[in-house]
């Protein structure tokens, strides 16, 4: 098997006295889409924060393209080509829609994504490009957040709870756009509470439970029982 | 079986009992200082007590109530001027004037609090400084109190303290010792009270404390007013020692706030032991570096910055974290009733 693009080695993470992740081993192949599911507080967002560099870890605990990156700062991780669409969008309220996208492209990596490409993917954003990002609907804000991450032309992009708090029709719209995004050869991690959605876009799935990996499997062979056992524990 | 059955809740520790006994012994020794110390030592001790009091009060404000004031010189100066005004114009005995100054300071602190509580964080800090500047410029306009150039305490007022210079020095010294003891006692009792515990809860987590139904605003207002009053009282005493006052000296940000802050930070903010440690370190540094002139203040500033960056809880914080030592029985502690083998 070729070297995976991303690997975590017995990853631990803690907030002060509270340990959020225990010995998490995870792998992501080149061009692969992996789903991470789990209940609230299972450690999914902590895993995203660790990989993206917002939380410090031991260097070897996270390896990207054979390089230990666990101890790097978030801006250094971003330069290497790892993008994150954070939970709850978290756009910059003082920046316009277009400025939010432009700042996403700040790392200056080359690739298929540009303002024009984002506007082609989400035409509604072009119409509103000069508005404050806070004036958009939740779904449009999520489009900006996705576009902002793509503007960096990352090799690996992580989506943290992209459907959370959005209307079903908007969720469908965003999930319809996903294959076009990851089809560009990008590897992706999709964190999702909606298990069906998660399985439909991914080739493999990890389930987290109380900070530990409770299940690892192929998205099309894993059974409902296995998932509910991994989700809630026994 | 409830947790209460399994755990013993207590406040005093062996260390705090030993500290109380030792503290009492030191207090007796210090009370007797006029009989064993020379005039210069007595003055130095008096100054130490006054700085310890200011440090205790600032620590209460910043370390517990979260009000980082850089304008406490407003109250020190106010106290000084009230002492002079009350003795000169009303003929009050200096001790009565000092007490009255404390009360007046608390009254003045109320409208001031209403105004500057509108500012938050660092802007609150500079807001307090503006208030102090207003006081300074205001007193500089009062010709009857010497205007911008200042005034001396009339000889009669100073003499009314006691007969003879030695006796006066001794009374003056006892006043500083008494005030420092009172300030420490009040701080300790306040922090042990319901409101004081509430204050510590607020400091540690304002959101949680708010949801517990603690009236944050009133508690903080109370602390600000008490500290304002006591700082005014200490200020009156400071200028009874100095016998001369001017707007520049009375409202000096360096003398009455910067150094006090350095003392608290170096010693350890947010603990009652911190100001003691800080005061000792401050006076040691000052006596050791007395020949350096202005460079001494550079060293002091650098030490304060270094402590803040390296050990934000100060020297006492280092001691406490490594030994668990606490000399003041403030918070409650618990331990299992039956000691189980380790």
């Amino acid at each position: 098997m070729p070297e995976p693009i991303l690997r975590t080695n017995r990853l631990d993470a803690r907030y002060g006295d509270f340990q959020a992740l225990y010995c998490v081993d995870m792998e992501l192949g080149e061009g692969e889409v992996v789903a991470i599911i789990g209940a609230n507080g299972a450690g999914k967002t902590t895993l995203m924060r660790s990989v993206s560099g917002l939380m410090k870890n031991a260097a070897e605990q996270i390896v990207y393209r054979g390089r230990p990156i666990g101890a790097l700062r978030a801006d250094q991780v971003a330069e290497l080509g790892i993008g994150l669409v954070p939970e709850g969008r978290q756009l910059f309220p003082s920046l316009s829609v277009e400025e939010n996208l432009i700042i996403g492209g700040r790392v200056g990596r080359s690739g298929p994504w540009s303002l024009a490409a984002i506007y082609a993917l989400f035409p509604v954003l072009e119409e509103r490009r000069h508005l404050p990002s806070t004036s958009l609907s939740g779904g449009q804000q999520q489009m900006v957040a996705i576009g902002r991450a793509l503007m960096a032309n990352p090799d690996l992009v992580m989506f943290d709870e992209i459907s959370l708090g959005l209307a079903p029709v908007v969720i469908k719209q965003i999930y319809d756009a996903l294959p076009g995004i990851v089809g560009e050869g990008m590897s992706a991690v999709v964190v999702e509470q909606d298990v069906t959605k998660a399985l439909s876009v991914s080739s493999r799935v990890y389930c987290l439970q109380e900070g530990r990996v409770s299940l690892e499997g192929c998205s099309d062979t894993v059974t409902r029982e296995e998932i509910s056992r991994a989700y809630f524990g026994q | 079986m409830s947790a209460r059955d399994n755990y013993r809740v207590f406040r005093a520790t062996r260390a705090s009992r030993v500290a109380a006994v030792l503290g009492l012994a030191v207090l007796v020794l210090l009370f007797a200082a006029p009989w064993w110390a020379g005039r210069a030592e007595l003055r130095l001790l008096g100054e130490i007590f006054l700085y310890l009091s200011l440090a205790m009060l600032w620590n209460l404000l910043a370390g517990y109530a979260g009000f980082v004031s850089v304008g406490q010189q407003a109250y020190v100066g106010l106290g000084g001027y009230l002492l002079f005004a009350l003795t000169i114009f009303l003929g009050l005995h200096p001790v009565a004037a000092i007490a009255a100054a404390g009360l007046a300071g608390a009254l003045v602190a109320m409208p001031v609090a209403l105004l500057i509580f509108r500012l938050r964080g660092a802007y609150f800090a500079i807001g307090t400084w503006v208030i102090a500047e207003v006081f300074r410029l205001g007193f500089a306009q009062l010709g009857a109190l010497g205007g911008g150039s200042g005034i001396s305490l009339p000889v009669d007022a100073a003499r009314s303290l006691a007969e003879g210079r030695d006796a006066r020095e001794a009374v003056s010294y006892w006043l500083t010792l008494g005030v420092a003891t009172a300030v420490i006692t009040i701080a300790c009792l306040f922090l042990r009270s319901r409101r004081g515990l509430a204050l510590t809860a607020i400091r540690d987590n304002e959101l949680a404390a708010g949801s517990l139904g603690i009236d944050i605003w009133r508690t903080k207002f109370l602390v600000y007013v008490i500290v304002g009053g006591l700082t005014t009282l200490v200020g009156a005493l400071i200028f009874l020692q100095k016998l001369r006052i001017s707007p520049e000296a009375a409202f000096s940000v360096n003398d009455w706030t910067a150094f006090v802050i350095f003392i608290v930070v170096i010693g350890g903010i947010g603990s009652l032991e911190g100001p003691f440690v800080g005061t000792i370190v401050y006076f040691l540094l000052r006596e050791m570096l007395a020949d350096l002139g202005a460079a001494y203040l550079i060293v002091l500033g650098a030490v304060a910055i270094a402590v803040m960056l390296v050990a934000p809880k100060g020297l006492w914080g280092l001691v406490r974290d490594s030994t668990g030592l606490r000399l003041f029985p403030l918070g409650y502690r618990t331990e299992p009733k039956e000691k189980k083998g380790a």
């Binding site: 801006d75 330069e79 920046l95 432009i102 | 660092a122 500079i126 207003v134």
Partner: protein, 287 residues
Amino acid sequence: MDWVNAILQGTLLGGLYALFAAGLSLIFGVMRLVNIAHGDLIVLAAYLALTVIMALGIHPLMSLLAVVPVMAVVGYVLQRSILNRTLGDDILPPLLVSFGLSVIIQNALLETYTADPQRLSAGPIEVASLNLGGLAVGYLPFLMFVTAVAIIGGLQIVFYRTGLGRAFRAVSDNQDIAQLMGINRRHVFALAMALSLAVTAVAGIFLGIRTSFDPATGPARLIFGFEAVIIGGMGSLWGTLAGGVILGVSQAIGAQVNPGWQILAGHVAFLVILAVRPRGLFPRMDG
């Protein structure tokens, strides 16, 4: 006519106060840092100018070419080496560390330059004035005011029209997410401090031309700048200019009534505005 003149002179003086305030407003906007040493850094810039002028024999305004970059470097290094380490949720560390810096700068200046008051001599321009229908408008105060407007306009452009400004606003909004955009916040904070102290350098040189200064004059400049920021409303650069003007005019009116009341009148105006409009006149962000 005296009153009109007082208001005019006060307005022009307000430009200088806005310059004191602009750097303070900038770094508060980007990183919520209130720099207690700001006034002392203004005075430090004035002394640096004095040294440059004495060494090279040049006009004070020419010394800007040397002092502005030096102060910018000082700002960058200060932020990277010390102030960055104090940033966080707790406001105490930055406050105390900048308070310590204030004491250090004051006493270092005292050791280097003594307590004697100094002045930067700008030559004939100091007294030259334009006669506008009976009102004398000094060239120098006018130049200061125009410079203040230009600098604040320039900062406004940097903030809202450049990539650096986008980075400033992004870290101000959300430091974590800004880092995900490849922004090294420590570097961006240091750039903000460099810009702040570059403005401070201009303020310091104008201060030195306008009045005499000594190592202890910093804190009062900090307070004037702070008052202008609060009066104008936090986070608003044009508001800061308005705040400076209001402060300058209040002082001028106070001085017109009684020369001893100049500074006091400014403080009173500040306190009144604080009582009536605690968020200032043109607020953009919460304190």
